[in-house]
Amino acid sequence: MIEKAIEIYKKMFLIRQFEMILEDYFTKGLLRGTTHSCIGQEAVAVSILDYIDIERDFVTSTHRGHGHFLAITGDVFALASEVMGKRTGVVSGLGGSQHLQHKNFYTNGITGGMIPIGVGIAFAKKLKGEEGIVISFLGDGAMNEGYVMEALNMAKVYDVPIIFVLENNCYAMSSITRNLSGGEFGDRVRSFGLRYVYEEAIDVLNLWQKFGEIYREVLINRSPVFIECRTYRFCGHSKSDKREYVLEEEEDFWREHDPLLLLREKILRNIELDELERQERYVKQGIVDAFKNAEQEEELGVEEFSSKYISA
């Protein structure tokens, strides 16, 4: 168990460090465009995605997809290249932060838009009699998009092997989600006849275990499950967000319950601080190097771009 705990911790640490270094690059004006970091939400990504096989299962993600991508691939160089627009990026640098595609992993920049698509992929698996399932992430803001509700209905009607993972970080951009949402999300989901599970993304190992049970259940039973995961982002919605809207008591609670630090404390009961710090330095150095290496790469040239991508 301690080995697993360290493995999960290192993935979380990698994601958080990546996002912090990325935000630092933005602050220094070294990057164009925008980004949506997931600092604080790492626990959800690393626990559910620990089970999947990306050659067999599909994962649909969101505008806030770095954590999901890194939990699956660990490829910091490809992601750093992508946000820098370099040809070594996940989609040759053409997509940027929000538009990633790697094997069976897809993100897009439209809130909730991937949810009907996730249901469609799961439906295809059912129709073809294929193994594997779909994990579809969404945020709390997406729960108020019409086609997300349409997709939940279809998931039930067509009875497809999908796990919806709602990462409820309390805020839809700057809006306090519960102020703009009628009723409880759980009631909405259950009203479609879907199985609904609620978890708090605080104790990562507990979350990892629960996700494992649900993953195996859907893998065998082939019916949809909806998990709402209460989580929190310590960063802004996007790079320019100063977080003027956060509720103090919410912030205090999550600062005291940062799942990354709680897991770190747990691990330190089993291994020496020096040893853990050594491993952390190693992970961090890897990210720093990846960013530096990505900086050296080139963007796709106009000639190659136009010959490959411009048709009409």
Binding site: F58, V91, L94, G95, H99, Q101, Y106, N108, G109, I110, G113, M114, I115, P116, I117, G118, V119, G120, I121, A122, F123, A124, K125, L127, K128, E130, G146, Y147, E150, A151, N153, M154, V157, Y158, Y309, I310, S311, A312
Partner: protein, 333 residues
């Protein structure tokens, strides 16, 4: 040369579509039909799929009234290796699918280089008194979107062949059918009334007056192609004016300009059923003017107004035969 299959010779447009879908379902187990009310006994609002769910159980997927949702569903199915053919009951309802088509399907196809065989079929157009939200030619919303292919068949070739072509493109295709065409007999021979020649060598169809060399071109597409052909015939019989008619089936992207030799024309008229300002005609005529300078052009289409239900008013707003005939005559004078 596109092969004209004989047994389609005595066939209606709707039957050709249905027969093609039937043979596609038989030949390719990855093809699924998705849409509202498409299964028996109802068989679709316009009955295109009538009878098919009984022959192919499980291959026609009835959907809730969730056009955004099931368009996304179909995109997901295509990502996972199936070939969904979606029916949007009226083209007016395409408005609900725009986000999934524009922000999802076309982006995956073009940005992620994802093969995405998905065809979205929909009946377009008016002249039937259905009123403002069931009569529009909504394809105009989609012209110019990179990564999307828009096809509109007409009755002068087999729409089933166009549907097969659409599926083989392996990319998102909007397939614009026309309500007034469903009951029409297809015209698949090489001539009309023995004096109009039909040439289908390309993805567009050329109707030309036999033994006449015309310097006037009328370009059109879809359901209103019928009116274009009628006008061509009457202009020749009544006014002795020979007009070439080109019926374009690939509306976007349009390779007609690359293939077509327009040097001989002095007048080009576009005719569409949709709103003419900033419409298909405006776009294609601009491209033509950019390449061929000594041309006079005119776009004809619907007036800038919602489509009213009463017959006379609907025919006032939409480009009906009489108005188009007069406008073209006036333009040529």
């Amino acid at each position: 040369m596109r092969r004209i299959i004989n047994h389609f010779a005595e066939m209606k447009y709707i039957e050709a579509l249905r027969e093609t879908i039937k043979s596609l379902l038989e030949a390719d187990k990855d093809i699924y039909l998705i849409g509202e009310d498409i299964i028996d006994p109802y068989g679709g609002a316009f009955k295109v799929t009538k009878g098919l769910s009984s022959i192919f159980p499980g291959r026609l997927i009835p959907t809730p009234m969730s056009e955004q949702g099931f368009t996304g569903l179909a995109i997901g199915m295509a990502i996972a290796g199936l070939k969904p053919v979606v029916e949007i009951m009226f083209s007016d309802f395409l408005t609900l699918t725009v986000d999934q088509i524009v922000n999802h399907a076309t982006k995956f196809y073009s940005m992620y280089a994802q093969p995405l065989p998905i065809v979205i079929r929909t009946p377009s157009g008016g002249f039937r008194g259905y009123g403002a939200t069931h009569s529009q030619s909504m394809e105009s919303l989609f012209f110019g979107i990179p990564g999307l292919h828009i096809i509109a068949p007409n009755i002068f070739s087999n729409p089933g062949e166009d549907l097969k072509y659409a599926l083989d493109l392996n990319r998102p295709v909007l397939f614009i059918e026309n309500k007034t065409d469903y009951t029409q007999d297809l015209i698949l021979g090489d001539t009309i009334d023995s004096f109009i020649n039909i040439n289908r060598e390309n993805r567009h169809t050329l109707l030309s007056i036999a033994d006449e060399d015309s310097n006037i071109l009328l370009i059109s597409y879809g359901g209103i192609s019928k009116i274009a052909a009628q006008i061509q015939k009457q202009l020749y019989l009544k006014e002795e004016i020979a007009v070439d008619v080109v019926l374009i089936r690939d509306l976007w992207p349009c390779d007609f300009l690359e293939e077509g030799d327009l040097d001989k024309y002095r007048y080009v008229v576009s005719l569409e059923e949709g709103w003419m300002d900033f419409g298909w005609g405006a776009g294609i005529l601009q491209k033509i003017r950019d390449r061929f300078v000594n041309l006079k052009t005119k776009a004809i289409g619907a007036r800038n107004c919602f489509i009213p239900s009463p017959r006379d008013l609907e025919f006032y707003v939409l480009p009906g035969y009489a108005r188009v005939y007069n406008e073209i005559l006036e333009f040529l004078r």
